[in-house]
Protein backbone atom coordinates (compact mmCIF):
# COMPACT_ATOMS: atom_id res chain seq x y z
CA UNK A 1 0.00 0.00 0.00
CA UNK A 2 1.39 3.28 -1.19
CA UNK A 3 1.67 5.86 1.55
CA UNK A 4 0.99 8.74 -0.80
CA UNK A 5 -2.25 7.15 -1.89
CA UNK A 6 -3.35 6.86 1.71
CA UNK A 7 -2.40 10.45 2.49
CA UNK A 8 -4.17 11.54 -0.65
CA UNK A 9 -7.29 9.69 0.53
CA UNK A 10 -7.17 11.52 3.83
CA UNK A 11 -6.64 14.88 2.15
CA UNK A 12 -9.38 14.35 -0.41
CA UNK A 13 -11.69 13.12 2.33
CA UNK A 14 -11.06 16.21 4.41
CA UNK A 15 -11.50 18.57 1.48
CA UNK A 16 -14.90 17.21 0.53
CA UNK A 17 -15.81 16.68 4.19
CA UNK A 18 -15.58 20.40 4.94
CA UNK A 19 -18.08 21.12 2.19
CA UNK A 20 -20.42 18.46 3.57
CA UNK A 21 -20.02 20.13 6.94
CA UNK A 22 -21.20 23.51 5.80
CA UNK A 23 -24.21 22.07 3.98
CA UNK A 24 -25.08 20.08 7.09
CA UNK A 25 -24.65 23.09 9.36
CA UNK A 26 -27.31 24.92 7.36
CA UNK A 27 -29.62 21.97 7.71
CA UNK A 28 -28.97 21.34 11.38
CA UNK A 29 -29.80 24.93 12.26
CA UNK A 30 -33.24 24.70 10.74
CA UNK A 31 -33.82 21.17 11.90
CA UNK A 32 -32.58 21.72 15.41
CA UNK A 33 -34.36 24.99 16.08
CA UNK A 34 -37.66 24.45 14.34
CA UNK A 35 -37.87 20.67 14.29
CA UNK A 36 -38.50 20.88 10.57
CA UNK A 37 -36.81 18.67 8.04
CA UNK A 38 -36.23 20.95 5.09
CA UNK A 39 -36.54 18.76 2.04
CA UNK A 40 -35.75 21.69 -0.23
CA UNK A 41 -32.29 22.02 1.28
CA UNK A 42 -30.66 20.39 -1.73
CA UNK A 43 -32.59 22.69 -4.01
CA UNK A 44 -31.30 25.69 -2.12
CA UNK A 45 -27.84 24.36 -2.88
CA UNK A 46 -28.77 24.03 -6.53
CA UNK A 47 -30.15 27.59 -6.59
CA UNK A 48 -26.91 28.89 -5.15
CA UNK A 49 -24.84 26.97 -7.68
CA UNK A 50 -26.98 28.11 -10.56
CA UNK A 51 -26.89 31.75 -9.44
CA UNK A 52 -23.11 31.58 -9.28
CA UNK A 53 -22.97 29.95 -12.65
CA UNK A 54 -25.29 32.48 -14.27
CA UNK A 55 -23.35 35.37 -12.83
CA UNK A 56 -20.23 33.84 -14.22
CA UNK A 57 -21.65 33.03 -17.63
CA UNK A 58 -23.62 36.24 -18.19
CA UNK A 59 -21.83 38.91 -16.19
CA UNK A 60 -18.40 37.41 -16.05
CA UNK A 61 -18.26 37.59 -12.28
CA UNK A 62 -15.96 34.93 -10.93
CA UNK A 63 -17.58 32.61 -8.37
CA UNK A 64 -15.05 33.73 -5.78
CA UNK A 65 -16.34 37.28 -5.98
CA UNK A 66 -20.02 36.52 -6.43
CA UNK A 67 -20.02 34.53 -3.19
CA UNK A 68 -21.27 37.33 -0.92
CA UNK A 69 -24.10 38.08 -3.34
CA UNK A 70 -25.04 34.40 -3.43
CA UNK A 71 -25.06 34.18 0.35
CA UNK A 72 -27.28 37.27 0.56
CA UNK A 73 -29.58 35.95 -2.11
CA UNK A 74 -29.99 32.59 -0.40
CA UNK A 75 -30.60 34.29 2.93
CA UNK A 76 -33.46 36.09 1.25
CA UNK A 77 -34.71 32.85 -0.32
CA UNK A 78 -34.69 31.33 3.16
CA UNK A 79 -36.69 34.19 4.63
CA UNK A 80 -39.17 34.04 1.79
CA UNK A 81 -39.56 30.28 2.16
CA UNK A 82 -40.27 30.71 5.84
CA UNK A 83 -42.85 33.44 5.29
CA UNK A 84 -44.71 31.73 2.49
CA UNK A 85 -44.36 28.03 3.13
CA UNK A 86 -43.20 27.26 6.65
CA UNK A 87 -45.03 29.74 8.82
CA UNK A 88 -48.52 28.57 7.84
CA UNK A 89 -47.72 24.99 8.80
CA UNK A 90 -45.92 25.65 12.08
CA UNK A 91 -47.54 23.95 15.03
CA UNK A 92 -49.12 21.21 12.94
CA UNK A 93 -47.89 17.67 12.44
CA UNK A 94 -44.18 17.75 11.53
CA UNK A 95 -44.88 15.67 8.45
CA UNK A 96 -46.91 18.48 6.95
CA UNK A 97 -43.86 20.74 7.02
CA UNK A 98 -41.97 17.89 5.37
CA UNK A 99 -44.65 17.58 2.73
CA UNK A 100 -44.67 21.32 2.13
CA UNK A 101 -40.91 21.50 1.68
CA UNK A 102 -41.10 18.42 -0.53
CA UNK A 103 -43.61 20.22 -2.74
CA UNK A 104 -41.39 23.27 -2.69
CA UNK A 105 -38.45 21.12 -3.72
CA UNK A 106 -40.28 19.77 -6.77
CA UNK A 107 -41.45 23.29 -7.57
CA UNK A 108 -38.03 24.95 -7.39
CA UNK A 109 -36.33 22.20 -9.33
CA UNK A 110 -38.78 22.33 -12.18
CA UNK A 111 -39.03 26.10 -12.34
CA UNK A 112 -35.27 26.08 -12.81
CA UNK A 113 -35.66 23.35 -15.42
CA UNK A 114 -38.29 25.42 -17.18
CA UNK A 115 -36.25 28.58 -17.40
CA UNK A 116 -32.71 27.27 -17.60
CA UNK A 117 -33.10 23.88 -19.17
CA UNK A 118 -31.77 20.50 -18.13
CA UNK A 119 -28.20 20.92 -19.34
CA UNK A 120 -25.20 20.17 -17.20
CA UNK A 121 -22.97 23.18 -16.86
CA UNK A 122 -19.43 23.44 -15.70
CA UNK A 123 -17.33 26.49 -14.89
CA UNK A 124 -13.93 25.76 -16.28
CA UNK A 125 -12.24 29.11 -16.78
CA UNK A 126 -12.60 30.77 -13.39
CA UNK A 127 -9.80 32.15 -11.25
CA UNK A 128 -9.47 28.87 -9.43
CA UNK A 129 -10.53 26.24 -11.91
CA UNK A 130 -8.05 23.69 -13.05
CA UNK A 131 -5.25 24.87 -10.76
CA UNK A 132 -3.69 22.63 -8.22
CA UNK A 133 -0.88 22.43 -5.72
CA UNK A 134 1.34 19.41 -5.87
CA UNK A 135 4.02 18.27 -3.47
CA UNK A 136 5.55 14.88 -2.57
CA UNK A 137 3.24 13.24 -5.08
CA UNK A 138 0.18 14.62 -3.32
CA UNK A 139 -2.27 16.83 -5.11
CA UNK A 140 -4.57 19.50 -3.78
CA UNK A 141 -6.87 21.06 -6.27
CA UNK A 142 -7.04 24.79 -5.66
CA UNK A 143 -10.83 25.16 -6.00
CA UNK A 144 -11.34 22.39 -3.47
CA UNK A 145 -8.72 23.78 -1.13
CA UNK A 146 -10.22 27.27 -1.21
CA UNK A 147 -13.70 25.81 -0.74
CA UNK A 148 -12.60 23.73 2.20
CA UNK A 149 -10.96 26.69 3.91
CA UNK A 150 -13.95 28.89 3.15
CA UNK A 151 -16.36 26.30 4.52
CA UNK A 152 -14.37 25.96 7.74
CA UNK A 153 -14.24 29.72 8.20
CA UNK A 154 -17.93 30.23 7.58
CA UNK A 155 -18.84 27.35 9.86
CA UNK A 156 -16.71 28.92 12.56
CA UNK A 157 -18.34 32.31 12.06
CA UNK A 158 -21.78 30.76 12.30
CA UNK A 159 -20.69 28.88 15.39
CA UNK A 160 -19.43 32.09 17.04
CA UNK A 161 -22.58 33.89 16.04
CA UNK A 162 -24.80 31.26 17.60
CA UNK A 163 -22.78 30.85 20.78
CA UNK A 164 -21.89 34.49 21.44
CA UNK A 165 -24.44 36.90 19.96
CA UNK A 166 -27.73 37.95 21.50
CA UNK A 167 -29.60 36.45 18.58
CA UNK A 168 -27.67 33.24 19.10
CA UNK A 169 -28.89 33.04 22.70
CA UNK A 170 -32.46 33.65 21.59
CA UNK A 171 -32.01 30.94 19.00
CA UNK A 172 -30.70 28.42 21.48
CA UNK A 173 -33.46 29.23 23.93
CA UNK A 174 -36.04 28.75 21.20
CA UNK A 175 -34.48 25.48 20.18
CA UNK A 176 -34.66 24.15 23.74
CA UNK A 177 -38.23 25.16 24.46
CA UNK A 178 -40.30 27.28 22.16
CA UNK A 179 -43.04 28.07 24.69
CA UNK A 180 -40.67 29.16 27.40
CA UNK A 181 -38.76 31.30 24.93
CA UNK A 182 -42.02 32.95 24.00
CA UNK A 183 -42.71 33.65 27.68
CA UNK A 184 -39.26 35.12 28.05
CA UNK A 185 -40.18 37.73 25.48
CA UNK A 186 -38.37 36.23 22.54
CA UNK A 187 -40.09 36.80 19.24
CA UNK A 188 -39.92 33.17 18.18
CA UNK A 189 -41.31 33.85 14.74
CA UNK A 190 -38.52 36.25 14.09
CA UNK A 191 -35.99 33.76 15.40
CA UNK A 192 -37.44 31.09 13.13
CA UNK A 193 -37.37 33.37 10.12
CA UNK A 194 -33.76 34.36 10.72
CA UNK A 195 -32.79 30.77 11.39
CA UNK A 196 -34.28 29.72 8.11
CA UNK A 197 -32.47 32.54 6.38
CA UNK A 198 -29.22 31.65 8.09
CA UNK A 199 -29.58 27.97 7.23
CA UNK A 200 -30.21 28.83 3.60
CA UNK A 201 -27.29 31.27 3.59
CA UNK A 202 -24.97 28.50 4.84
CA UNK A 203 -25.98 26.16 2.07
CA UNK A 204 -25.74 29.12 -0.28
CA UNK A 205 -22.12 29.62 0.65
CA UNK A 206 -21.47 25.91 0.19
CA UNK A 207 -23.06 26.10 -3.26
CA UNK A 208 -20.97 29.13 -4.14
CA UNK A 209 -17.85 27.17 -3.34
CA UNK A 210 -18.98 23.91 -4.86
CA UNK A 211 -19.66 25.47 -8.25
CA UNK A 212 -15.91 25.92 -8.66
CA UNK A 213 -15.38 22.21 -9.08
CA UNK A 214 -18.77 20.62 -9.53
CA UNK A 215 -21.23 20.47 -12.40
CA UNK A 216 -24.57 22.25 -12.14
CA UNK A 217 -27.95 21.02 -13.26
CA UNK A 218 -31.46 21.17 -11.78
CA UNK A 219 -31.20 17.88 -9.88
CA UNK A 220 -27.74 18.40 -8.48
CA UNK A 221 -28.80 19.09 -4.88
CA UNK A 222 -30.38 15.76 -4.10
CA UNK A 223 -27.23 13.71 -3.50
CA UNK A 224 -25.84 16.29 -1.13
CA UNK A 225 -29.15 16.74 0.65
CA UNK A 226 -29.49 13.06 1.45
CA UNK A 227 -25.97 12.83 2.75
CA UNK A 228 -26.46 15.94 4.86
CA UNK A 229 -29.55 14.43 6.53
CA UNK A 230 -27.39 11.60 7.76
CA UNK A 231 -24.58 13.96 8.78
CA UNK A 232 -26.96 16.07 10.84
CA UNK A 233 -28.34 13.04 12.63
CA UNK A 234 -24.86 11.66 13.12
CA UNK A 235 -23.67 14.87 14.75
CA UNK A 236 -26.81 15.36 16.82
CA UNK A 237 -29.70 17.58 15.80
CA UNK A 238 -29.16 21.28 16.17
CA UNK A 239 -25.53 20.82 17.11
CA UNK A 240 -23.31 22.92 14.86
CA UNK A 241 -20.04 21.50 16.12
CA UNK A 242 -21.51 18.04 15.77
CA UNK A 243 -22.55 18.63 12.18
CA UNK A 244 -19.13 20.03 11.41
CA UNK A 245 -17.23 17.05 12.80
CA UNK A 246 -19.71 14.55 11.42
CA UNK A 247 -19.31 16.11 7.98
CA UNK A 248 -15.57 15.59 8.11
CA UNK A 249 -16.02 12.08 9.44
CA UNK A 250 -18.36 11.24 6.57
CA UNK A 251 -15.91 12.69 4.06
CA UNK A 252 -13.14 10.50 5.47
CA UNK A 253 -15.20 7.34 5.73
CA UNK A 254 -16.51 7.80 2.24
CA UNK A 255 -13.02 8.18 0.81
CA UNK A 256 -10.94 5.81 2.89
CA UNK A 257 -13.68 3.23 3.36
CA UNK A 258 -14.62 3.51 -0.28
CA UNK A 259 -11.07 2.82 -1.30
CA UNK A 260 -10.54 -0.23 0.89
CA UNK A 261 -13.98 -1.81 0.86
CA UNK A 262 -15.03 -0.84 -2.66
CA UNK A 263 -16.21 2.46 -4.05
CA UNK A 264 -19.73 1.24 -4.73
CA UNK A 265 -20.11 0.73 -0.98
CA UNK A 266 -18.92 4.15 0.10
CA UNK A 267 -22.36 5.54 0.93
CA UNK A 268 -23.35 2.24 2.44
CA UNK A 269 -20.38 2.56 4.77
CA UNK A 270 -21.59 6.01 5.80
CA UNK A 271 -25.02 4.59 6.63
CA UNK A 272 -23.52 1.68 8.52
CA UNK A 273 -21.33 4.10 10.46
CA UNK A 274 -24.45 6.07 11.34
CA UNK A 275 -26.28 2.96 12.50
CA UNK A 276 -23.36 1.86 14.66
CA UNK A 277 -22.93 5.28 16.22
CA UNK A 278 -26.60 5.69 16.84
CA UNK A 279 -26.89 2.31 18.54
CA UNK A 280 -24.14 3.35 20.95
CA UNK A 281 -25.20 6.97 21.32
CA UNK A 282 -28.92 7.32 20.59
CA UNK A 283 -28.65 11.07 20.18
CA UNK A 284 -25.76 11.22 17.80
CA UNK A 285 -22.08 11.75 18.43
CA UNK A 286 -22.50 15.08 20.15
CA UNK A 287 -26.23 15.11 20.88
CA UNK A 288 -27.70 16.75 23.93
Amino acid sequence: MDVTIFLQLVISGLLIGFVFSLIAVGLTLIWGVMDILNFAHGDFLMLAMFSAFLMFANLGVDPVFSLPVIVGLLFFVGLLTFRLVIKPVLGYHALIALLATFGLSIFIRNVVLFFLGPDFRVINQSVLAGKRISFLGLHLSLPQLVSAIGCVLITYVVYLFISKSKFGRALRATALDKDTALLMGINTNRVFALTFGLGAACVGAAGGFLVNFYYVFPEVGLNFAILSFVIVALGGFGNIGGAFLAGILVGLVENIGGFFVGPEFKYTLVFILYLIVISLRPKGLFGW
Binding site: I96, G103, L275
Partner: protein
Protein backbone atom coordinates in the same frame (compact mmCIF):
# COMPACT_ATOMS: atom_id res chain seq x y z
CA UNK B 1 -72.83 3.05 16.84
CA UNK B 2 -73.48 5.86 14.36
CA UNK B 3 -69.82 6.18 13.47
CA UNK B 4 -69.46 2.53 12.59
CA UNK B 5 -72.55 2.54 10.43
CA UNK B 6 -71.22 5.53 8.55
CA UNK B 7 -67.95 3.76 7.93
CA UNK B 8 -69.60 0.70 6.49
CA UNK B 9 -71.80 2.76 4.21
CA UNK B 10 -68.96 4.86 2.83
CA UNK B 11 -66.69 1.87 2.58
CA UNK B 12 -69.25 -0.11 0.61
CA UNK B 13 -69.80 2.79 -1.76
CA UNK B 14 -66.09 3.01 -2.43
CA UNK B 15 -65.71 -0.72 -2.95
CA UNK B 16 -68.65 -0.89 -5.31
CA UNK B 17 -67.36 2.12 -7.19
CA UNK B 18 -63.89 0.69 -7.54
CA UNK B 19 -65.29 -2.62 -8.69
CA UNK B 20 -67.80 -1.23 -11.18
CA UNK B 21 -66.10 1.85 -12.60
CA UNK B 22 -63.46 -0.05 -14.60
CA UNK B 23 -66.20 -2.21 -16.10
CA UNK B 24 -68.02 0.88 -17.30
CA UNK B 25 -64.93 2.68 -18.55
CA UNK B 26 -62.98 0.13 -20.57
CA UNK B 27 -59.82 2.18 -20.65
CA UNK B 28 -56.67 0.33 -19.65
CA UNK B 29 -54.95 3.48 -18.56
CA UNK B 30 -57.83 4.36 -16.30
CA UNK B 31 -57.62 0.87 -14.88
CA UNK B 32 -53.91 1.35 -14.36
CA UNK B 33 -54.67 4.54 -12.50
CA UNK B 34 -57.13 2.76 -10.21
CA UNK B 35 -54.67 -0.07 -9.56
CA UNK B 36 -51.91 2.33 -8.58
CA UNK B 37 -54.33 4.37 -6.53
CA UNK B 38 -55.55 1.37 -4.57
CA UNK B 39 -52.07 -0.08 -4.24
CA UNK B 40 -50.69 3.13 -2.79
CA UNK B 41 -53.73 3.61 -0.59
CA UNK B 42 -53.13 0.13 0.85
CA UNK B 43 -49.43 0.76 1.16
CA UNK B 44 -49.91 4.08 2.89
CA UNK B 45 -52.47 2.57 5.21
CA UNK B 46 -49.88 -0.03 6.16
CA UNK B 47 -47.41 2.78 6.88
CA UNK B 48 -50.12 4.65 8.73
CA UNK B 49 -50.20 1.85 11.35
CA UNK B 50 -46.71 2.61 12.54
CA UNK B 51 -46.18 6.14 11.26
CA UNK B 52 -49.62 7.59 11.77
CA UNK B 53 -51.26 5.72 14.65
CA UNK B 54 -48.19 4.80 16.66
CA UNK B 55 -46.40 7.99 15.58
CA UNK B 56 -43.07 6.41 14.63
CA UNK B 57 -42.24 8.09 11.33
CA UNK B 58 -40.33 5.68 9.14
CA UNK B 59 -38.46 6.77 6.04
CA UNK B 60 -37.37 3.25 5.28
CA UNK B 61 -40.48 1.35 4.33
CA UNK B 62 -38.87 0.58 0.98
CA UNK B 63 -37.06 -2.21 2.88
CA UNK B 64 -40.30 -4.10 3.41
CA UNK B 65 -41.64 -3.13 0.02
CA UNK B 66 -38.49 -4.38 -1.68
CA UNK B 67 -38.36 -7.57 0.35
CA UNK B 68 -41.94 -8.28 -0.62
CA UNK B 69 -41.40 -7.75 -4.31
CA UNK B 70 -38.19 -9.75 -4.36
CA UNK B 71 -39.70 -12.59 -2.36
CA UNK B 72 -42.50 -12.91 -4.89
CA UNK B 73 -40.39 -12.39 -8.00
CA UNK B 74 -37.16 -14.26 -7.30
CA UNK B 75 -38.66 -17.71 -6.62
CA UNK B 76 -41.02 -17.14 -9.53
CA UNK B 77 -38.15 -16.38 -11.89
CA UNK B 78 -35.82 -19.08 -10.64
CA UNK B 79 -38.13 -21.94 -9.75
CA UNK B 80 -41.50 -20.97 -11.15
CA UNK B 81 -42.94 -20.94 -7.66
CA UNK B 82 -46.41 -19.48 -7.50
CA UNK B 83 -46.19 -15.84 -6.41
CA UNK B 84 -48.89 -16.43 -3.82
CA UNK B 85 -46.42 -18.46 -1.79
CA UNK B 86 -43.70 -15.92 -2.55
CA UNK B 87 -45.97 -13.18 -1.28
CA UNK B 88 -46.45 -15.01 1.98
CA UNK B 89 -42.72 -15.66 2.30
CA UNK B 90 -42.13 -11.96 1.71
CA UNK B 91 -44.61 -11.05 4.41
CA UNK B 92 -42.98 -13.40 6.91
CA UNK B 93 -39.46 -12.25 6.05
CA UNK B 94 -40.60 -8.65 6.40
CA UNK B 95 -41.94 -9.42 9.87
CA UNK B 96 -38.63 -11.02 10.83
CA UNK B 97 -36.71 -8.03 9.50
CA UNK B 98 -39.07 -5.73 11.40
CA UNK B 99 -38.26 -7.66 14.58
CA UNK B 100 -34.53 -7.37 13.98
CA UNK B 101 -34.68 -3.68 13.13
CA UNK B 102 -37.17 -2.85 15.85
CA UNK B 103 -35.09 -3.89 18.84
CA UNK B 104 -32.29 -1.33 18.44
CA UNK B 105 -34.24 1.29 16.53
CA UNK B 106 -37.15 1.74 18.90
CA UNK B 107 -34.80 3.10 21.52
CA UNK B 108 -34.36 6.14 19.31
CA UNK B 109 -36.54 9.19 19.37
CA UNK B 110 -38.11 11.25 16.61
CA UNK B 111 -35.78 12.16 13.80
CA UNK B 112 -33.08 9.77 14.93
CA UNK B 113 -35.58 7.00 14.39
CA UNK B 114 -36.61 8.33 10.99
CA UNK B 115 -33.05 8.71 9.73
CA UNK B 116 -32.14 5.27 11.05
CA UNK B 117 -34.94 3.59 9.15
CA UNK B 118 -33.73 5.40 6.07
CA UNK B 119 -30.15 4.28 6.69
CA UNK B 120 -31.28 0.68 7.09
CA UNK B 121 -33.15 0.92 3.81
CA UNK B 122 -30.08 2.22 2.02
CA UNK B 123 -27.92 -0.57 3.40
CA UNK B 124 -30.46 -3.19 2.36
CA UNK B 125 -30.68 -1.67 -1.10
CA UNK B 126 -26.92 -1.99 -1.40
CA UNK B 127 -27.13 -5.62 -0.30
CA UNK B 128 -29.62 -6.39 -3.04
CA UNK B 129 -27.56 -4.45 -5.59
CA UNK B 130 -24.66 -6.79 -4.87
CA UNK B 131 -26.61 -10.00 -4.63
CA UNK B 132 -25.92 -12.11 -7.70
CA UNK B 133 -28.87 -14.44 -7.25
CA UNK B 134 -31.30 -11.59 -7.85
CA UNK B 135 -29.13 -10.15 -10.63
CA UNK B 136 -27.84 -7.19 -8.63
CA UNK B 137 -28.58 -3.80 -10.11
CA UNK B 138 -30.13 -5.31 -13.23
CA UNK B 139 -33.09 -6.59 -11.30
CA UNK B 140 -35.55 -9.29 -12.16
CA UNK B 141 -37.99 -9.62 -15.01
CA UNK B 142 -40.98 -11.83 -14.56
CA UNK B 143 -40.71 -14.77 -16.96
CA UNK B 144 -43.42 -15.13 -19.55
CA UNK B 145 -45.60 -17.81 -17.99
CA UNK B 146 -49.08 -19.05 -18.53
CA UNK B 147 -51.71 -16.48 -17.67
CA UNK B 148 -53.94 -17.02 -14.73
CA UNK B 149 -54.49 -16.87 -11.07
CA UNK B 150 -51.80 -19.42 -10.22
CA UNK B 151 -49.00 -17.36 -11.73
CA UNK B 152 -50.79 -14.12 -10.97
CA UNK B 153 -50.24 -12.96 -14.51
CA UNK B 154 -52.77 -11.47 -16.81
CA UNK B 155 -51.71 -10.16 -20.16
CA UNK B 156 -54.88 -9.31 -22.01
CA UNK B 157 -56.69 -7.51 -19.28
CA UNK B 158 -55.93 -5.50 -16.21
CA UNK B 159 -59.15 -6.20 -14.37
CA UNK B 160 -57.85 -9.22 -12.45
CA UNK B 161 -54.99 -7.13 -11.06
CA UNK B 162 -57.46 -4.47 -10.08
CA UNK B 163 -59.69 -6.89 -8.21
CA UNK B 164 -56.78 -8.56 -6.45
CA UNK B 165 -55.49 -5.19 -5.26
CA UNK B 166 -59.03 -4.24 -4.30
CA UNK B 167 -59.27 -7.32 -2.09
CA UNK B 168 -56.08 -6.37 -0.27
CA UNK B 169 -57.25 -2.81 0.05
CA UNK B 170 -60.49 -4.11 1.55
CA UNK B 171 -58.62 -6.28 4.05
CA UNK B 172 -56.27 -3.45 4.99
CA UNK B 173 -59.02 -0.92 5.53
CA UNK B 174 -61.21 -3.27 7.49
CA UNK B 175 -58.29 -4.34 9.64
CA UNK B 176 -57.34 -0.76 10.37
CA UNK B 177 -60.92 0.14 11.13
CA UNK B 178 -61.28 -2.78 13.56
CA UNK B 179 -57.88 -2.07 15.07
CA UNK B 180 -58.82 1.52 15.77
CA UNK B 181 -61.52 0.20 18.07
CA UNK B 182 -59.49 -2.32 19.98
CA UNK B 183 -57.21 -1.81 22.91
CA UNK B 184 -54.25 -1.97 20.54
CA UNK B 185 -55.55 0.95 18.53
CA UNK B 186 -55.93 3.06 21.65
CA UNK B 187 -52.50 2.02 22.84
CA UNK B 188 -50.91 3.05 19.53
CA UNK B 189 -52.42 6.50 19.74
CA UNK B 190 -51.47 6.83 23.39
CA UNK B 191 -47.85 5.94 22.60
CA UNK B 192 -47.80 8.58 19.91
CA UNK B 193 -49.25 11.31 22.13
CA UNK B 194 -47.79 10.65 25.59
CA UNK B 195 -45.43 7.72 25.77
CA UNK B 196 -44.74 8.19 29.49
CA UNK B 197 -48.37 8.46 30.45
CA UNK B 198 -49.07 5.41 28.32
CA UNK B 199 -46.41 3.50 30.21
CA UNK B 200 -47.98 4.53 33.51
CA UNK B 201 -51.27 3.15 32.20
CA UNK B 202 -49.56 -0.21 31.77
CA UNK B 203 -48.69 -0.04 28.09
CA UNK B 204 -45.59 -2.01 27.13
CA UNK B 205 -44.38 0.64 24.72
CA UNK B 206 -41.67 -1.13 22.77
CA UNK B 207 -43.84 -4.24 22.46
CA UNK B 208 -46.70 -2.30 20.94
CA UNK B 209 -44.41 -0.34 18.65
CA UNK B 210 -43.06 -3.69 17.57
CA UNK B 211 -46.58 -4.99 16.85
CA UNK B 212 -47.29 -1.89 14.79
CA UNK B 213 -44.09 -2.25 12.81
CA UNK B 214 -44.65 -5.95 12.21
CA UNK B 215 -48.17 -5.48 10.92
CA UNK B 216 -47.03 -2.57 8.84
CA UNK B 217 -44.09 -4.52 7.44
CA UNK B 218 -46.26 -7.50 6.54
CA UNK B 219 -48.73 -5.51 4.51
CA UNK B 220 -46.06 -3.34 2.94
CA UNK B 221 -44.35 -6.52 1.74
CA UNK B 222 -47.61 -7.80 0.30
CA UNK B 223 -48.02 -4.54 -1.59
CA UNK B 224 -44.44 -4.80 -2.78
CA UNK B 225 -45.17 -8.27 -4.16
CA UNK B 226 -48.28 -7.02 -5.94
CA UNK B 227 -46.33 -4.11 -7.37
CA UNK B 228 -43.59 -6.36 -8.70
CA UNK B 229 -46.05 -8.79 -10.22
CA UNK B 230 -47.95 -5.96 -11.82
CA UNK B 231 -44.99 -4.02 -13.25
CA UNK B 232 -43.21 -7.34 -14.04
CA UNK B 233 -39.80 -5.75 -13.64
CA UNK B 234 -38.14 -4.93 -10.35
CA UNK B 235 -34.71 -3.58 -9.54
CA UNK B 236 -33.15 -2.20 -6.36
CA UNK B 237 -33.17 1.33 -7.79
CA UNK B 238 -36.96 1.33 -7.91
CA UNK B 239 -38.44 -1.02 -5.31
CA UNK B 240 -35.84 -0.31 -2.63
CA UNK B 241 -35.44 3.37 -3.30
CA UNK B 242 -35.92 6.35 -1.07
CA UNK B 243 -38.51 7.52 -3.62
CA UNK B 244 -40.86 4.72 -2.61
CA UNK B 245 -40.35 5.34 1.12
CA UNK B 246 -41.01 9.04 0.71
CA UNK B 247 -44.00 8.61 -1.55
CA UNK B 248 -45.70 6.42 1.04
CA UNK B 249 -45.11 9.01 3.75
CA UNK B 250 -46.24 11.90 1.60
CA UNK B 251 -49.48 10.29 0.54
CA UNK B 252 -50.37 9.65 4.16
CA UNK B 253 -49.34 13.14 5.26
CA UNK B 254 -51.35 14.65 2.46
CA UNK B 255 -54.45 12.71 3.38
CA UNK B 256 -54.03 12.93 7.14
CA UNK B 257 -51.72 10.92 9.37
CA UNK B 258 -53.26 8.64 11.92
CA UNK B 259 -56.64 9.01 10.24
CA UNK B 260 -58.53 6.05 8.83
CA UNK B 261 -59.40 7.76 5.55
CA UNK B 262 -56.12 9.66 5.26
CA UNK B 263 -54.18 7.22 3.04
CA UNK B 264 -57.07 6.71 0.63
CA UNK B 265 -57.74 10.44 0.36
CA UNK B 266 -54.05 11.14 -0.07
CA UNK B 267 -53.73 8.73 -2.95
CA UNK B 268 -57.01 9.86 -4.50
CA UNK B 269 -55.43 13.31 -4.69
CA UNK B 270 -51.79 12.55 -5.37
CA UNK B 271 -51.84 9.63 -7.80
CA UNK B 272 -54.26 11.13 -10.37
CA UNK B 273 -52.59 14.50 -9.91
CA UNK B 274 -49.26 12.95 -10.82
CA UNK B 275 -50.63 10.87 -13.68
CA UNK B 276 -52.82 13.49 -15.29
CA UNK B 277 -50.50 16.43 -14.88
CA UNK B 278 -47.96 14.33 -16.74
CA UNK B 279 -50.47 13.29 -19.38
CA UNK B 280 -51.84 16.74 -20.02
CA UNK B 281 -48.76 18.86 -19.48
CA UNK B 282 -45.85 16.43 -19.57
CA UNK B 283 -43.78 15.38 -22.56
CA UNK B 284 -42.47 18.89 -23.08
CA UNK B 285 -39.20 18.35 -21.28
CA UNK B 286 -39.83 21.55 -19.41
CA UNK B 287 -41.36 20.17 -16.27
CA UNK B 288 -44.55 22.22 -16.40
CA UNK B 289 -46.47 19.31 -14.94
CA UNK B 290 -44.12 19.05 -11.99
CA UNK B 291 -44.12 22.80 -11.36
CA UNK B 292 -47.86 22.51 -10.99
CA UNK B 293 -47.65 19.39 -8.85
CA UNK B 294 -45.13 20.99 -6.50
CA UNK B 295 -47.14 24.18 -6.21
CA UNK B 296 -50.34 22.25 -5.49
CA UNK B 297 -48.70 20.21 -2.75
CA UNK B 298 -47.42 23.39 -1.10
CA UNK B 299 -50.80 25.06 -1.41
CA UNK B 300 -52.64 22.12 0.08
CA UNK B 301 -50.24 22.13 3.04
CA UNK B 302 -50.60 25.85 3.61
CA UNK B 303 -54.33 25.88 3.18
CA UNK B 304 -55.04 22.82 5.28
CA UNK B 305 -52.14 21.75 7.46
CA UNK B 306 -54.16 18.88 8.91
CA UNK B 307 -54.30 17.09 5.59
CA UNK B 308 -57.29 16.46 3.39
CA UNK B 309 -59.06 14.79 6.30
CA UNK B 310 -58.87 18.10 8.10
CA UNK B 311 -60.28 19.85 5.08
CA UNK B 312 -63.25 17.54 4.95
CA UNK B 313 -63.89 17.90 8.66
CA UNK B 314 -63.84 21.66 8.34
CA UNK B 315 -66.15 21.49 5.37
CA UNK B 316 -68.64 19.31 7.21
CA UNK B 317 -68.43 21.35 10.35
CA UNK B 318 -69.27 24.57 8.55
CA UNK B 319 -72.12 22.92 6.77
CA UNK B 320 -73.44 21.67 10.05
CA UNK B 321 -73.50 25.17 11.45
CA UNK B 322 -75.48 26.68 8.58
Amino acid sequence: MQNDKNFYIIFSIILIFMAVAPLVIQNTHFQHLLIMLLLFATLSQAWNLIGGYAGQVSFGHAVFFGIGSYAAMAPLTHWGLTPWVGMLIGGVVAIIVALIIGVPVFRLKGHYFAISTFAVAEVVRELFTNWEWVDGPIGLDAPVLEQGFYNLMFYKNKLPYLYIVLVFFFIMMLLTFRMERTRMGYYFRAIKQRPEAAQAMGVHISKYKQYALMMSAFFTAICGALYGLYILHIEPATVLSLDISIKIVLITALGGTGALWGPLLGSIILIPLQEYSRIWLGGTGKGIDLILLGALIVLICIYEPRGIVGLLKRFNFQKGKN
